[in-house]
Amino acid sequence: MTVPSTPRSATPVARDPRATGVRRHRREDRAWRIGGRLATILPIVGFAFVMIVLAVKAWPAFRVSGLGFITHSAWQPGNTYGGTQRVHGVLIPQGATYGAWPMLLGTLQTSAIALLVALPISIGTAFALTERLPKWLSAPLGFFVEILAGVPSVIIGLWGVLVLGPFLSRDVYPIVANHLPNVPVLRYFRGSVGYGEGLLTSGLVLGLMIVPVIASTTRDLFLQVPPLPKEGALALGMTDAEVARRVTIPWVRSGIIGATVLGLGRALGETIAVAMVSGSVLGTVAPNVYGTMTTIAATIVTQLDSAATDGTGFAVATLAEAGLVLAIISVVVNLLARTIVRRAGRMAAPVGRA
């Protein structure tokens, strides 16, 4: 490695009169170590606290609803002003029964749509920014990826429900719904298109929100692909499309998969935007892709207020159970992404330096 020129800060260091006294330095070293260790413990404590609170709060709801919670569809708060009943030793309002299947399905459906939309856009954007456009153009245009990442989700939701949703349901959805044949899968794209609040609009908005997550990682990965294999492929007579498909993408494939799973995790947990564009309809599965629905995260944010009025605390406990389901999905997805990205990182590291 070449010796770099002296860092700017090094010159005053040598003359600093405070740079004396071994004991002071030992003390400072110890402060750094202890402070650092303390700081690393705090996020762990915070995360453990979150999971424990969720589990404790969800326990009564789990005792009543059991595993059926994730397969049932009913969403009945019961008679919150009337009598109570005891189920499995837990006091709940009369007639209260909760099932999370519709919102669990809604969470998975919207996230799946989001991935289908975001992955090609992200990869195409990454190619455009790293290979297709000249640098003077790609730097300012790349800034839009960061802008999209930075726009608050409540504003994206506002745009989704007031601008995008009405536009799609008026000018785009009817064309699709009226022209697709009545065959499996495509059947879900037929029927009433609603008013723009629903499954497909939520998925599209979510897709837009996770594009920055996938695109920025993919862009960095593409920049790490060494030029020699690409130049070699070009010299063999491959077109740039073939180089992209046969050299660049395979080179960083696992990294892209990892980034995609990361984006999936973000889509699963997104709350406010979905709460605004999904229609927030509890307890029913969307009949077609335009139907109104809700997700776990959106349910928690829209229902916690009214759940707090349940004197027995059963409704709040139910939301904890829903939150726990979402948290477990999110943790699993994130760990999966981490494993994939780390494996990709190990493989890419020696190549990147060569």
Binding site: L38, F47, F49, F144, T239, R266, V333
Partner: protein, 296 residues
């Protein structure tokens, strides 16, 4: 890579695929730039024509009035996040990159916190907000107030700050550390005077982006900071804090026209805040790159 197939596709088809590929990349980029412009332009078009500057200096009346309390509240929350998440996140990043002693199997002792940070960075913010509500606001009787909001927001953005700090430190050349050690500097002194100092632009950039995220959050704040139409109080507990995203979230579907104005005004202020933070972080990055190039 794969072997060239025996029957290679025709030149015309290959040329067509090149055209398709190029069109696809530009189209994809258009699907990023288009919506970004559409969102920002939409807010600007709705908010700017009726913009009154006294929005910045008058209190909100819920569905009408100004946004002074929300602006002050959002800035206060961001300040709180800077203090709490900034210190914890930066220290965590420094520890992971520089201090964590390697264990026998060659793995860093910071393995657990790395996993937790990765998991936290993708954790649903509403679940954090729920826990803040159940455990802090109700459980500890703190009420809707400043402290639970800052704690929950901090837990959310610590991973971003820690990761940015760690990767900024990884970009500091090893020779800087060796030089510091060769000059007889202790670990802490070398960190403070040489290593962290040269990573500072990257660290600050990470902090600014984390602030942009924190300032634009809604879900974790709704049930921790509460809502308030008065200026935030200095007391960290029992006093709800107003913030901009709340007014966007509650006022957009109110029947009154004045509520829509509030909603769009709050959106505009939020976008200006976020764009400012993004541009400042961009400028910092650009300036450091210029410096590092001149140093070479």
């Amino acid at each position: 890579m794969s072997v060239v197939p025996a029957s290679y596709p025709s030149t015309r088809w290959r040329r067509a695929k090149v055209g398709l590929f190029r069109a696809f990349t530009i189209l994809a980029l258009a699907f990023v730039i288009g919506p970004a412009l559409w969102i920002i332009g939409g807010v600007v078009v709705k908010a700017v024509p009726g913009w009154r500057w006294n929005v910045l200096t008058t209190l909100s009346q819920g569905t009408s009035g100004g946004l002074e309390n929300a602006i002050v509240g959002t800035l206060l929350l961001m300040l709180g996040v800077t203090v709490v998440a900034g210190s914890i996140g930066i220290l965590t990043g420094i520890y992971l990159a520089e201090i964590a002693p390697p264990t026998r199997r060659g793995r860093s002792s910071g393995a657990v916190v790395r996993v937790v940070i990765d998991v936290l960075s993708g954790f649903p913010s509403i679940v954090l907000g729920y826990v803040g509500y159940v455990a802090l606001v109700v459980g500890l009787h703190w009420g809707y107030s400043f402290l639970p909001a800052v704690l929950i927001l901090s837990l959310m953005v610590i991973p971003y700050i820690a990761k940015a700090t760690e990767s900024a430190l990884h970009q500091v050349p090893t020779s800087y550390r060796e030089g510091a050690e060769a000059l007889g500097m202790s670990l802490g002194y070398g960190l403070r005077k040489v290593v962290v100092r040269s990573a500072l632009p990257g660290i600050v950039t990470g902090l600014l982006l984390a602030l942009a995220i924190a300032g634009g959050e809604t879900a974790p704040l709704l049930y921790t900071a509460g809502a308030s139409n008065t200026l935030p109080s200095i007391a960290p507990l029992h006093h709800p804090v107003a913030y901009l995203t709340y007014y966007v979230w509650t006022d957009w579907n109110q029947p009154m026209a004045s509520a829509h104005v509030v909603s769009y005004d709050a959106s505009l202020i939020l976008i200006v805040m976020v764009l400012t933070l993004l541009v400042v972080s961009r400028v910092i990055v650009a300036r450091t790159q210029r410096h590092s190039e001149s140093a070479r």
